[in-house]
């Protein structure tokens, strides 16, 4: 079955990200994602605070992983380590063979644009661009797809998420759910193998959240790997694996069964 969201399954036409060749050497395993002994400590005038205390986590291709935990437990910090949005104080983060923790800020941006789609709780669309232009922007930044094809691809992605009708509207003119769908289309723009979503349904009503969740399921079926931070136990029960974090440590990793049950 051809993918709804990619031209070539799991690829964006540019292969594995190799900013300088070194980062792919010495990958510790064949896992798509591996987090090894990651510690993250924040320093402030009130004192040091360790958000992650030596996290180890592996994720394989095609998994739909939910990271759950209470507010302030470190789940968003963990996803920030994986997406390269924040850097570990110590430890390693390997994504699809790339040592993310070693990349410079510029290299991370380029890597993330091609290899990893990020979805935020508050959508984070650029307010001055239309929905379509927001989706085209990652292709523009990463020079993926020939310029004449970018518009077509953006429209295609928006059609798939049901937003073709609002493609030329500004984000402020569409609903929150539609903004999040547009953000997902944007995350898929460069056809990355992994999507990382931080509370993607946290700001949506339950009906819209359900639509988003089903969309994620379709993406996983097509071979995408999704990491999703959530504090919604219902959603967490419907993924392939649940990682529970308590006070900066992984408490337990549930096996891949819940999603099968749901289906």
């Amino acid at each position: 079955m051809p993918s709804l969201f990619s031209s070539v399954q799991g690829q964006n036409g540019h292969g594995r990200f190799q900013p300088n060749g070194n980062q792919t050497n010495g990958a510790p395993s064949n896992h798509l994602l591996q987090v090894r002994q990651v510690v993250k400590t924040y320093h402030s005038s009130a004192g040091d605070f360790t958000a992650l205390k030596g996290i180890d986590l592996t994720v394989d291709r095609g998994e739909f992983v939910a990271i759950i935990g209470k507010s302030g437990c470190g789940k968003s910090t963990l996803i920030n380590m994986i997406t390269g949005i924040d850097r570990p104080t110590s430890g390693e983060v390997w994504v699809n063979g790339t040592a993310v923790h070693t990349l410079s800020e510029g290299a991370i941006a380029q890597w993330r644009g091609r290899e990893l789609g990020v979805i935020f709780q508050f959508f984070q669309l650029l307010p001055t661009l239309t929905v379509m232009q927001n989706v085209m922007l990652p292709m523009d930044f990463c020079h993926t797809y020939p310029i004449p094809q970018r518009r077509e691809r953006a429209m295609h992605l928006l059609e798939q998420v049901g937003l073709a009708d609002v493609a030329h509207k500004l984000p402020s003119s569409v609903s929150g759910g539609q903004q999040q769908l547009a953000a997902i289309a944007r995350a898929l723009a460069n056809d990355p193998p992994i999507l990382a979503a931080d509370e993607p349904t946290g700001n949506l009503d339950s009906a819209t959240a359900e639509i988003i969740f089903q969309l994620f399921n379709q993406l996983v079926d097509q071979g995408k790997t999704i990491l999703m931070v959530t504090h919604d136990p219902d959603k967490a029960r419907r993924v392939t694996r649940v990682v529970t974090i308590v006070d900066g440590e992984i408490l337990k990793t549930q096996p891949e069964f819940t999603r099968e049950i749901v289906r």
């Binding site: 924040d86 993330r112 644009g113 091609r114 935020f120 650029l126 661009l129 004449p148």
Partner: protein, 815 residues
């Protein structure tokens, strides 16, 4: 494959829409989406571009008018006053290979009654059919006068609103009156304009001179060198040769004059002073503009940090973002260029027309044209200044990490350390809530506050400085006016016995006292014994109380001084090596006399007639005019201008009645008025400067206040959530603006001292050949306080009102 095909088939259809990539669309959407911010940034840049464009444009227009325009009248290189001569001598000089052209003129001092007043007038005649040197340019009416007709130098509009068709009465020195009709106006770029002399230049025919009882001969020879037209030494040598030739032809040479800068318009020094003053204006405006742009761009980038984070999160590289924001800045610059360049061109033309108007410099402006060099300069300023000013903010903003960007709360990023803020707040316990909050807001964002204060302080300092120059000019004019402690000055065509003149003058009702002076003309000799600059020696009696010129070096004359001379400060401009104590040789009536320079007095403007002072007893002896006078100063019973004029007329009439030949009568009020007029041009320029500075300062404060409020929208929401009323929110923001204005004012009043002294020095060097007597303008400081407070309230009111109208829900959803 299927999808690729779909993309390919659709791509042609949408090809037109693909021209602008999303990142550039974001740039333009940001520009268009926030119009008030765009307007603010564009205006900030435009002010600098406008100032530079206007100054450069105006200077080029005026410089071209005074150089290219001046050359078209074939200006004389020098002139020689002689005994009467005819066309044969003119032909002889014209035939000299070193002479490009020559022309004879007859020039005579007369008095002219026009529109109810008498004016000292230089009446000249020339061959209008064959004009070759110092050409007159007709600006209205007839180009050449007929018999008993006059052309008037149009700079006379500075004195009287004359019109073609008016009748003027010309009074010769023997008292005879002649009615003549004004038939045309002319521009004479080589005459001393009325604004400088208080007199009129008029032109008629040689035949009319005969009708006036004179001979139809020339008495002044003008000539243009065939080469080295701007080389003073060459012209001086040539003048020596011509003088020899004239004398060998049997004529007397009374006086030679080589211009300090031959072939250069006498207006050059004024244009240079305008350029200096306006140059300072342009530099200050540009600096203020850069401050504003830096401030605005810092705020803009701060507001964009979250979006920078998003763009980085989806693959945007720092260089992509730097490129985007630089493009935005360049777009701001281009918009500013589009606004400022045409306005600068119009303003420059208007300004040049004002300066070139007959009442001021009377220049013929070149035909309006676009000047590519100015357009390029403006474009460079439009692009470079904002890019350089914005670069630090862009560099800092785009290097922020995604994590930091996405976790930004939208609050100010530049905070005082908590301990310092706590200390300040602790010490201000007596200050109530809103004031404390306003002060805290200023202290919290020190960088922004410093730049805004910098803009306002610089603006205030220059504003007060400009008004201080005006006050200093007034003070200087008052001091220079001490040279005229008499009421009426009468000059005679030839020397008369002093006792006789005293007797006649005291016979006139209203005259209380008479003091006889004498006047001799000479030429300063250089080391080789050649004649150089001319020097007119005014000789009041020793210990005279009727004149006290402002001494800038050395001392004033003592009653027992012999060959001591107090020289004109403009002579130092010509020969800076002259010093107090130096001995100079001056040729007077064919003999060389040594003089010791004992002092330098301050004069006004640039002149070729250097006037020096020496004691009457000594001068009258060497001029062989002991107990005789060529000029008397009268003290009248009443000293107001009207009384002075009335008594001057009576004195003139009486002298003529008793057969004394008067060449000019002036009142001290008119002489002081002429000095004040010298400052008119520069004061006009300074006023333009003050106006622009106010505009820039106001815009700066308005912009900063708007941005501050915009940035603190969330805080305002919090204030409202904890019970702040509309009035409280309004008050906090207004108080912040007022505090900023007060702080800036208290700094500006001190910085205004060096600013005012610098400007005074620039103006002084050009106008009074030295320093102005500096006076700090207290009214200027108070006026700036009022202006800055009004601007602060106005600039804060709109954002404050908008902020006070926001609901808590609106505000907290803002970010």
């Amino acid at each position: 494959m299927r999808e690729k095909a779909i993309y390919a088939s659709r791509s042609t259809h949408h090809a037109k829409n693909m021209i602008i990539r999303p990142r550039w669309k974001k740039v333009f959407a940001d520009l268009w989406g926030n119009k008030s911010r765009t307007l603010l940034v564009v205006l900030s840049i435009a002010i600098g571009v406008f100032a530079v464009g206007m100054v450069a444009n105006a200077y080029l227009i005026l410089a071209e008018a005074s150089t290219v325009g001046y050359e078209t009248v074939n200006p004389t290189s020098a002139f020689i006053l002689t005994s009467p001569f005819g066309d044969d001598l003119v032909d002889t000089i014209r035939d000299m290979p070193e002479v490009a052209d020559a022309e004879g003129r007859r020039v005579r001092s007369v008095r002219m009654f026009l529109h109810g007043r008498w004016y000292n007038t230089a009446l000249s005649a020339q061959n209008y059919d064959d004009g070759r040197v110092n050409l007159l340019q007709s600006t209205g009416g007839k180009a050449a006068p007929g018999d008993h007709e006059l052309l008037i130098d149009q700079t006379a509009v500075a004195l009287t609103d004359f019109a073609i068709g008016d009748t003027a009465i010309v009074e010769m020195s023997d008292g005879r009156h002649y009615e003549m009709t004004i038939v045309g106006k002319v521009r004479d770029q080589n005459s001393n304009p009325s604004i400088n002399t208080g007199g009129i230049n008029a032109y008629t025919t040689l035949d009319t001179f005969e009708w006036l009882g004179e001979t139809a001969d020339y008495n002044r020879l003008l000539y243009v060198a065939a080469e080295n037209k701007h080389d003073r030494a060459y012209i001086q040598a040539l003048t020596g040769d011509i003088k020899d030739k004239i004398e060998k032809s049997g004529y007397m040479v009374y006086f030679t004059l080589v211009f300090p800068e031959p072939g250069v318009s006498p207006t050059k020094f004024i244009i240079q002073s305008i350029r200096s003053v306006l140059g300072i204006l342009a530099a200050v405006s540009l600096a203020l503009s850069a401050f504003l742009v830096f401030n605005t761009m810092s705020a803009l980038i701060l507001r964009q940090v979250q979006y920078i984070g998003i763009m980085k999160a989806i693959g945007g590289l720092t260089r992509n973002l730097v490129g985007m924001y630089l493009l935005m800045v360049a777009a701001f610059g281009l918009l500013a260029y589009a606004v400022a360049a045409p306005l600068a061109a119009v303003a420059a033309q208007q300004f040049a027309e004002f300066i070139a108007s007959p009442g001021l410099l009377d220049l013929r402006l070149p035909v309006y044209r676009l000047r590519p060099e100015i357009m390029t300069l403006e474009l460079a300023v439009s692009l470079l200044v904002p890019v350089l000013a914005a670069l630090p903010a862009i560099w800092r903003g785009t290097r922020v990490t995604v994590f930091a960007a996405l976790n930004s709360t939208g609050l100010s990023q530049e905070n005082l350390s908590n301990s310092l803020l706590e200390q300040v707040i602790e010490r201000l316990r007596f200050v109530t809530g809103p004031w404390l909050l306003s002060l805290g807001n200023i202290l919290r964002n020190r960088g922004r506050a410093a730049l805004t204060l910098g803009t306002l302080v610089l603006g205030g300092a220059v504003f007060i400085g400009v008004l201080s120059v005006g006050a200093s000019a007034d003070e200087t004019v008052a001091e220079l006016g001490q040279a005229y402690r008499f009421d009426v000055q009468v000059e005679f065509e030839r020397p008369y016995r002093l006792t006789q003149i005293e007797e006649y003058a005291l016979h006139v009702p209203g005259v209380a006292r008479v003091e006889g002076w004498t006047v001799v003309n000479g030429a300063i000799l250089n080391a080789a014994g050649e004649e150089g600059n001319s020097m007119t020696i005014l000789a009041p009696p020793g210990g005279s109380e009727l004149t006290h010129p402002k001494i800038v070096a050395g001392r004033w004359l003592k009653p027992d001084d012999q060959n001591a001379v107090v020289i004109d400060s403009s002579l130092l401009r010509e020969d800076p090596s002259l010093q107090v104590g130096d001995e100079i040789m001056v040729k007077i009536n064919g003999r060389d006399y040594p003089w010791t320079i004992v002092g330098v007095y301050q004069s006004i403007g640039v002149t070729v007639w250097y006037e020096s002072y020496a004691n009457y007893a000594y001068v009258s002896r060497l001029a062989r005019e002991v107990q005789q006078t060529r000029r008397v100063q009268l003290v009248t019973n009443a000293h107001d201008p009207a009384s002075q004029l009335e008594i001057a007329a009576r004195v003139n009439d009486y002298f003529q009645q008793v057969g004394i030949r008067v060449s000019s009568v002036e009142t001290s009020s008119d002489m002081r008025g002429v000095q004040e007029d010298q400052f008119n041009i520069i004061v006009s320029v300074l006023l333009v400067m003050a106006l622009l500075i106010t505009l820039v300062g106001g815009l700066g404060l308005a912009g900063t206040m708007s941005m501050n409020v915009l940035e603190r929208t969330r805080e305002i929401g919090v204030m409202r959530a904890v019970g702040a009323s509309d009035g409280s929110v309004l008050r906090v923001i207004l108080v912040e603006g007022v505090l900023m204005a007060l702080i800036s004012w208290s700094m500006a009043i001190f910085l205004a001292v060096p600013a005012g002294k610098l400007l005074s020095s620039v103006v002084g060097n050009h106008i009074v050949n030295g320093q102005l007597s500096y006076v700090y303008s207290v009214p200027g400081a108070l006026l700036w306080l009022a202006l800055v407070l009004v601007v602060a309230v106005m600039a804060s009111y709109v954002p404050a009102r908008n902020a006070s109208r926001l609901t808590v829900r609106d505000v907290l959803a803002y970010e």
